[in-house]
């Protein structure tokens, strides 16, 4: 039961970020390889507001998310916007460059040692035999709220219809008066804020370290690719599946009662992408887009 709870926690973190990515890929058709660093930016800024400036936790979190949104917007204007209409592969290289810049700035400003947003000890509860902290319960709830909100927005509001129209055919949507350029910005900033949420959770639940950026990105992309790059629901589902497989891989005795070393846990997500891409290159839940 504890393994399932751990999978739910890790899956929620991955789903939070991968869900935003799926929307970005669906709308803009670009990969953002600086996503993990944007998550760390949100986490470190919250740590700075709370621990260095002494602001209350809630204000620090709101401030961290706001600043993460601003930085994501600047990233979009400098690193995505000048490139993505020329060729959709250019942002992959530019976001790699910006991930290096963020890594360097995080190292220079916050140093290499681990940082925890909360200095107090955590309080745990036992749910159906699994031990979970309050912060983890909040993350799981937050992810469910996010998924429900996206579902409602996409399927029951005019904004959602505009987003879906832009996903299906950006030029046709623009010709019908939908402000595709503004939607592109909103979706990208939203993915950055969601990544920031993930970074804040890491800073509260575990520790923030500058080396976390790329593993976070890869895990979110594992879910995105496995789910079918523009399929929001497939991505969310695969985020949880990958987390579950990771937990089962190291938490269950496999060969003659022996366990797979924990160091191999990160390989599980990578092997999952490799396997999915080899069996079904377009992703498990991919579907054909309308092109006219």
């Amino acid at each position: 039961m504890q393994l399932f709870a751990n999978a739910l926690i890790a899956g929620s973190l991955a789903a939070l970020m991968a869900g935003g990515l799926a929307l970005v890929y669906g709308v803009l058709g670009v990969f953002n390889l600086a996503l993990g660093q944007l998550a760390l930016v949100g986490g470190y800024l919250t740590w700075w507001l709370h621990q260095s400036l002494g602001l209350p936790l809630l204000i620090s979190i709101i401030g961290g998310l706001f600043l993460a949104g601003i930085i994501t917007w600047i990233t979009f204007e400098l690193v995505i916007n000048p490139f993505y209409k020329r060729h959709r592969f250019l942002p992959i290289v530019t976001t790699i460059a910006v991930s290096m810049i963020f890594d360097a700035l995080i190292l220079l400003l916050f140093e290499e040692r681990p940082r925890n947003i909360l200095s107090s000890t955590k309080h745990f509860v036992t749910v159906a035999g699994a031990r979970i902290s309050w912060e983890q319960l909040i993350l799981i709830t937050l992810t469910l709220i996010f998924v429900a909100s996206v579902a409602y927005t996409l399927h029951s509001t005019s904004v959602g219809r505009k987003i879906r129209a832009t996903v299906q055919h950006s030029e046709a949507a623009t010709s019908l008066g939908i402000p595709a350029n503004i939607l592109h910005r909103i979706i990208f900033i939203m993915s950055g804020v969601l990544a920031g949420c993930g970074g804040i959770f890491i800073g509260i639940d575990q520790n923030l370290t500058p080396v976390l950026g790329f593993p976070i990105t890869i895990k979110a992309y594992a879910a995105l690719i496995a789910g079918g790059k523009d399929n929001f629901w497939g991505t969310i589902f695969c985020a949880y599946i990958i987390a579950l497989i990771e937990q089962l891989a190291i938490g269950v005795p496999w060969f003659a009662g022996s366990y797979i070393p924990a160091g191999y846990q990160s390989v599980v997500a990578l092997l999952f992408i490799i396997l999915v891409l080899l069996v079904k290159p377009s992703g498990i839940f991919s579907h054909k887009l309308r092109i006219a």
């Binding site: 592969f89 360097a104 992408i273």
Partner: protein, 284 residues
Amino acid sequence: MNFLLHIIAIIAIGLPQVLGYNVIFGKGKIFHFGPIGVSLMAAYATFLTITNGGSYLLGITLGAGCALLISLLFAWLSFRLEADALGILSIAVHLTFLTVVLNSTQVTRGALGIPRIPRLPFLSSLSSFATIATVIAILWLAILYMIDTGPFGRKLQALAEHEWHAKSLGVDREHTHIAAFLLGGIGAAISSILMPQYLLLLHPNDYTFPFLIILVMIVVAGKPGSILGVTLSAILLTLLKEGLRFLPLPTTMIGPIRLLLFGVILLLAVYVRRDSLFPQQRKI
């Protein structure tokens, strides 16, 4: 003098890999981000064999064979996947190799790396190492230049510009791209056989993701596909990288500043080459 020889050796050792990668990513516009994974496996295959009593010949043969096999694997993957999926998958394969090396401590010593790497007898001194590495780099450059200006280079360029049209003119994508990946693999094998001998150490930290970024940056900054441009870019950026050691800054700051500088250079290079890095397909 020793520092000059060191710079020459570092540039010459790295050049075969950079030029090999330039064939795949620069000229072929193939979204392959796994060359460091190829180097990692080639280096470990070579030096695990040698340090466990195997001969140099056997070690080098196994290392080169490993590099070629993994390159073929990447080539095969490139035929199955869309370009962006190949990019992500090749990073995934690289990181999988790295994780396996780091965790197989019984065989690879994990994060400790393999110390006391033996050098080939004729590579014992710094000057001989710099000379031999330079000769190898120049030979490799000349070979690639001839290949690049011949039919293979034209086929690869045609496929990069417009695959359908190239195919309709009889260009075989599979053969051409396999050859490109193999050239990249040979380049990676040469560099990964020389570098640990030069450092007398094989360490997994030398095969992490930032090294891929440096490789991409050298190719992008030097003009993708241009052998001479990429060679010049490799020389200048290596000089910059090594020159940063002399900045009067604490050692803990040198690494991040190098990362920051290279990130900015890569961004500027992509901005300057935004029309030629991944050109719009020709419309007829």
